[in-house]
Amino acid sequence: MPRVVVDVMLKPEILDPQGRAVMGAFARLDVHGVADVRQGKRFEITLEGEPTDEVLAGLHRMAEELLSNPVIESYTLRVEDAQ
């Protein structure tokens, strides 16, 4: 079944203390050469049918109004190729 993936990330200017803590763990685990880690959310949305314009418009609305907070986050939405 077709799947839509929405990735939500904090905007670059918003501090991401979780990402920073993860980066701290990298160093403690002896992984070096990492300049920055940002943590986000990924939503995998499985459709019942085809990703029509109407369906995608509804999902864009959800990505903007529900899945992300435009004050602090941005999102990308893509339709995954059928397996």
């Binding site: 501090l15 979780q18 907070n69 004050v71 602090i72």
Partner: protein, 225 residues
């Protein structure tokens, strides 16, 4: 004066808020998240807690609860609304107040008696205080860092919409030490610390919190702002 206190799944401080309303001289009315009827209340408190488990983002799902549809509509018509902690997060998610609350910059949950400076005292929720008055009420949050872009922060400060700021320490990384903000007309206030936990000397660090609840009662009877 009837002041509604909303209970969402995961609300924690609804009972303390209702008790604070009673101690301030009001009648607390329980409102249910799934019910779009406000039962004729004169003002609404959105209490602290973890509505919907803080899933997605704090307040993000509560914003779309049936009761919130009515509250957003009535708030636009001047209904006084106070959002405390999770309630503040809900007000921001619902775009009734600008900005957002994000994870504390130090990543730890913070729970402390917090000193604040009151800055805007002509709102429906702060008219019992004096400008510059310092109060101590509990603060407890994991995602209490207030953020907004610089233009929004400048506007909040320029228009005098900052209600309270943190003193001594900035406990969560909030921009410009902001602990609470209001809408321009002063009917809607969002506050990260918890006035409802500072209404009795037996259990609170002070009784400073009572002023928020007595303020709205003063407003409603016409002796406040």
């Amino acid at each position: 004066m009837k002041i509604g206190v909303v209970t969402f799944p995961g609300s924690l401080d609804d009972r303390d808020a209702a008790r604070a309303v009673g101690l301030a001289g009001g009648d607390a009315v329980s409102l249910w998240h799934g019910d779009d009827d406000l039962k004729g209340v004169d003002a609404v408190v959105l209490p602290g807690g973890f509505s919907y488990g803080d899933y997605l983002r704090c307040g993000a799902i509560a914003r779309f609860a049936p009761v919130m549809r009515t509250i957003v509509e009535r708030a636009g018509q001047g209904l006084p609304v106070l959002g405390i902690c999770n309630g503040f997060q809900i007000l921001c998610e619902a775009h009734l107040l600008p900005g957002a609350l994000t994870r504390n910059d130090h990543l730890h949950f913070v729970c402390r008696d917090q000193r604040l400076r009151m800055e805007r005292v002509d709102t429906d929720w702060t008219n019992s205080f004096a400008v510059g008055e310092e109060i101590v009420i509990p603060l407890k949050n994991g995602e209490g860092g207030y953020v907004a872009d610089d233009a929004t922060l400048d506007r909040l400060e320029g228009d005098g919409l900052v209600v309270a700021r943190y003193l001594d320490v900035n406990p969560n990384g909030s921009r410009r030490d902001i602990a609470g903000i209001s809408n321009p007309s002063g009917t809607i206030v969002g506050l990260m610390p918890h006035p409802e936990h500072a209404v009795e000397s037996l259990t609170g660090p002070s009784t400073d919190g009572l002023g928020f609840f007595s303020s709205t009662i003063r407003s409603l009877v016409g002796i406040g702002s």
